[in-house]
Amino acid sequence: MMPPLTFDPRRSGIHGRARGNGPAADGTAAERAALEKTWRVPEGILGWFSVVDHRTIGRRYLVTALGFFLIAGILAVLMRLQLAVPDNQLIGPDRYNQIFTVHGTIMMFLFAVPVMEAMGIYLVPLMVGARNIAFPRLNTFSYFVYLFGGLMLLIVLLLNSAPDVGWFSYPPLAGPDYTPGKRADFWAQLITFTEVAALAVAVEIVATVFKMRAPGMTLDRIPLFVWAMLVTAFMIIFAMPAVVTASSFLLMDRLVGTHFYNPAEGGDALLYQHLFWFFGHPEVYIIFVPALGMVSSIVTTFTGRPIVGYTAMVLSLVATGFLGFGLWVHHMFATGLPQLGLTYFTAASMTIAIPSGIQIFCWIASIWRGTPRFTPPMLFVLGFIAIFVLGGLTGVTLASVPFNLQVHDTYYVVAHFHYVLLGGAVFPLVGGIHYWFPKITGRLMDEGLARLSFWLLFIGFNITFFPMHQLGLMGMPRRVYTYPAASGWGPLNLLSTLGAGLLAIGGLLFVWNLARSVRSGAVAGDDPWGGDTLEWGTSSPPPVYNFLHPPVVEGPNALWDRSADAPVVTGLRTDCREVLITDVVDATPNNRYEFPEPSIWPFLAAVATSAMFVGSIFTAWAVPIGIVPIAIAVTGWFWPKRKEAAA
C-alpha cells in the first residue's frame, strides 16, 4: 500500500531564491487538499483543547509568555516607583518583597525560558523541514502545564499570598520556621510546573533536531538557530533535575518535616545553594543561547551573506553549553568557601567570555563583509551588541572573587544581569519577533513604529540600568524596599525610574505594533526579507502540513544554496500523519513514522497533573491520590486506535 519514497526533482513544493516565488507546478492541488484534511487543526471548544499542531501551540506559548512579560514589567515599574525617592511610603516591605519575588520568578520561569521555547516550538520544525514537532501531544501537555502553573502564581499574587523570599528562595528564610503560611510553597511548586513543561519541550526539540531533519541537512548544514535550540534543550535536560531536587527538598522540609536544609537537625543551608545554582547558572544560558541563534539568523539575512565562521559559532554554542555548568559557585563567593576552589570558579567564569566573544567577533566580521540592511530586526541586533558586550564585560569583573565580594548582591549585579538578560536575550527576541512576525501571521509589522519603539527601548534601557552599576558601587544592596536619604542613592534612583518610564512606553509601543499589525499590517508574502532558512520557503503563514513535500537541503544556507532543479521528497502518505525520520548525523532518510492525531487527553493529563501539584501544597496526600487521575489521563492518551490495532 505504501508508495515508495523518492527524491523527485520535478515536483518541488518549496521555492527558494533560485526558483523565485509562486506555487509549485503540476497538479499538486489534490495532494494539498489531502494533506490539508489529514493535518487539519481541530475546531470548536473541544478542538481548542486537543490541538497538537506545533505552530498553534508555539503561538499560544508566545502570546502567553508575552502576557507574563507585560505583567512582570508592570511589577518592575511599581518597584521603580517605590525606589524613585528615599524613604518612600508608596509600597510597604510585605508587598514590595512579593513584587520583586514575583517579578524575578515570572521573568525567569514564566517569560524567558518559555518564550525561547515558544520560538523553538514554532521555528525548529519549519527550519529543519519537518511537518510537526516530535511528540506533538507532549507539546500540548507542556503548554497547559505551563499555563496552569502561571495562572496559579497570578492568583496568589492577587490574593496577596505570593512568594516573598526572592526568586531563588534561600532556606532557612524560605523554610518552615521563617516563612510560615503557603507563600514559599507556591514558589516551589511553580518551579515544578515550569520544570515539567520545559523538560517536555527540551525532549521534543532534541528528537526533532536529531531525527526529523530534511534529507541533506547534515550536521554542518543545520541553521545556527536550530543548533542554539539544540544546545539549550540539552542544557535544560541536564540543569532542571538539580532544581527539581532543590525545590522538592524545600517542599518536603516545609510539608512533611524533613530537615534537608535545617542546620539544627543536621541539614545544610548551603546544600540548597549548590543545587539551585547548579541549575541557576545554566538557566541564564538557557535563556541566552536561543537569543544568540536568533542574532545569527538575522545577521545572515540582513547582510545577505553566509555567516563568517559557522563552525566556530557552532563550537562556541556547544562550549557555552558545557562551560555553563562549571560556574555555579560564582553566585556563592561570599559564603566562605576555600580560596583555591574559588579561584577555579573565577577561571571558569572568565573562560565563558571566550565563546561569547568569538560569536561577537563572527557577527562583526559578517557585518563587515556583507551589506547590512538597517531593518528593524537588524537595529535590535545592533542594540543587542552594544548592550550585551557591556553586560558581558561586567560579567568578567564579577567573575573575579575579590571584586565580586564587594559588588555581590548589590545593584551592580542587578545592572549586570539586566544588561545580559534584557539586552542579551530580550533585544534579540524582540528583533526575532519583528523578523519572524511575517512568517507567523503573513503580515509585516509597521516599520516606523518598530524604529520608534527600538529607540525608546534602547535609550530607556540604558538610562534605567546604567546608573545601577554606580548605585552598586555606592553600596546599594539589592532587594531593599527603601533607603535613607543620607545614603546618597536618591538622584541616580530617580534617573533610573525616569528611564524605566521610557522603557515602559517603548514596550507598550511594541505590543501596540504587534496587536495592530496582526490585523492590518501590510501583506508580507512568503519571503519578505530574502531569508536563507527553510521556513522562508513555504507560504506565510505556513500551511498546516508546513511543506507540500519535505525539501532536500543542498548547503548550509538552505534556500540560497538551492539549485534550480533541487529535488524534494515524495511518496509520504497523505491520508495519515506520516512523517520522514532521518539519520542523526547525515540526515539520510531511514524510516517513516505516523504522528498522532489531535486528542483531548494531553489537556486532561495537564489538568490532573496541575491538580496534584497544587494539592500537594496543602497536603502530602495529594500525591498518592492525585496520581490516579493522572494515570487515567495518560492511559487515555496512549490508548491505541482501532485502526492501528487492526493493521
Binding site: A264, G336, D409, M474, R479
Partner: protein
C-alpha cells in the same frame, strides 16, 4: 551621512553617561573609597578590571561602527577576504584569551592577599546576625564574660581585627564597603574573615543578603578609633549598667523590669538577662536605634518605643502597652544607660 552622524552621537552620549557616572564617586559607603587594607586592594583590582573592560568595550564598538559604515568593495566576497576575516577572528580570540588569563591571575593574586592579615589579630569579634539587627560580641576581653555591642562595632585603628560570623536565624551578609567585601552569616556555620581600618572615622555597614521583611533596615556603624580610645570604650562597655539617678529613672527601671521588655533584653546589673533582643546595658551611648534606622535621640527613642511597626514594619520588637508617663520614665532610664 545621517547614519554616521547618528552613530557618533550615540557614542558621544554613552561616553558622557559613563563620565557622569564615574564622576559621581561620592556617598558614605563607596567601594572605591577604601579606608582599610582589604578594601584598598579590591579597589585597585576593580580599577584594573574597569580600565581593561572599558578599552575592550570601546574597541569592539569602534570596530562594529567601522564594519557598519565602511565602503563595500568588489573583493568582499572573495576567498582571500574570507581567510583574512578568519585570521582576524582568531587573533581577537587569542587576545581575549590572554586578557582573561591576565585578569584571572591578577584576581588570584589579590584574592590570596585577602585570605588572612599580615600580623596577628588585635582582637576577635563574633558577629551574630539576627532578623533584623547585628550583635557584635567581644569575647577575648576576659575569659568568662563577653561584651555585647548591638549594631555598633568598635575597632582599633591600624590593627587587624578577626571577624567570626554566625547567624541565629536566616542567612545575612556582613558588609562594610569601605573596609572589605561581604561575608555571609550562615546558620549552622562559623566562618572567619578580617578587617583592618587605617583611617579613623565612622563607616556604615549593611546587610547584603535578603533576610526577610526588614532587610532594608538592617545596618550598623563601624567606629574606627585609636587603640587608646578603643581600650577606654571596651573597658566602659564591660561595666554593668549605670544606676538610675533620680525618681523618674528609677520608675523607668522598675517599669522596664516589670514589663515584657525584660523578657527579650539584657541590662547587665539588673534581673533582665534575655538574649532574644539587643543588649541594652549601654544603649544610651550608641549612635543609632533599630539597627542604623534612627539616630539615637530622645524623640526618636519615643517614636521607636511607642510604635516600632511604623518605623520598621515587620520588626520583631512589639509595641509594649504602657501609660505615657511610664513610657517617659522608661525613656529617661534608657537614656541614662550610657
Amino acid at each position: 551621512m545621517a547614519r554616521r552622524r547618528a552613530l557618533w552621537a550615540c557614542c558621544a552620549a554613552m561616553a558622557a553617561a559613563a563620565a557622569a557616572a564615574s564622576a559621581g564617586c561620592a556617598g558614605p559607603h563607596h567601594v572605591f573609597d577604601p579606608a582599610g587594607g582589604p578594601a584598598r586592594d579590591i579597589a585597585a583590582l576593580g580599577r584594573l578590571l574597569f580600565a581593561v573592560c572599558t578599552v575592550i568595550y570601546l574597541l569592539v564598538i569602534a570596530v562594529l561602527a567601522w564594519a557598519l559604515v565602511r565602503r563595500r568593495t568588489e573583493a568582499d566576497g572573495s576567498v582571500e577576504t574570507g581567510r583574512r576575516l578568519t585570521r582576524a577572528i582568531a587573533a581577537a580570540t587569542i587576545a581575549s584569551t590572554m586578557t582573561i588569563v591576565g585578569l584571572t591571575a591578577a584576581s588570584a593574586v589579590t584574592g590570596h592577599g585577602l585570605t588572612s592579615p599580615m600580623g596577628p589579630a588585635a582582637i576577635t569579634v563574633d558577629v551574630v546576625g539576627h532578623q533584623w539587627w547585628w550583635d557584635f560580641q567581644f569575647r577575648d576581653v576576659s575569659p568568662d564574660e563577653f561584651v555585647s555591642s548591638p549594631n555598633e562595632l568598635h575597632v582599633p585603628l591600624g590593627q587587624p581585627v578577626m571577624i567570626k560570623t554566625m547567624s541565629r536565624d536566616v542567612i545575612h551578609s556582613f558588609w562594610v564597603p569601605n573596609l572589605h567585601g561581604k561575608r555571609d552569616l550562615i546558620p549552622g556555620q562559623v566562618t572567619n574573615t578580617w578587617i583592618q581600618a587605617d583611617r579613623p572615622g565612622v563607616y556604615r555597614g549593611l546587610c547584603a543578603e535578603f533576610c526577610g521583611h526588614e532587610h532594608a533596615k538592617m545596618a550598623f556603624e563601624v567606629v574606627v578609633e585609636t587603640p587608646q580610645k578603643f581600650k577606654a570604650w571596651i573597658d566602659h562597655q564591660r561595666e554593668s549598667a549605670s544606676e538610675p539617678a533620680d525618681y523618674q529613672e528609677r520608675r523607668g527601671r522598675d517599669v522596664f523590669l516589670g514589663s515584657p521588655c525584660a523578657t527579650c533584653h539584657t541590662i547587665r546589673g539588673t534581673t533582665a538577662a534575655s538574649r532574644v533582643g539587643p543588649d541594652l546595658t549601654h544603649v544610651g551611648s550608641r549612635m543609632t536605634l533599630a539597627a542604623g534606622t534612627l539616630p539615637n535621640t530622645r524623640p526618636h527613642l519615643a517614636t521607636w518605643l511607642g510604635d516600632p511597626q511604623s518605623v520598621k514594619p515587620g520588626t520583631l520588637m512589639p509595641a509594649v502597652p504602657m501609660s505615657d508617663a511610664d513610657r517617659g520614665a522608661v525613656i529617661a532610664y534608657l537614656r541614662r544607660l550610657q
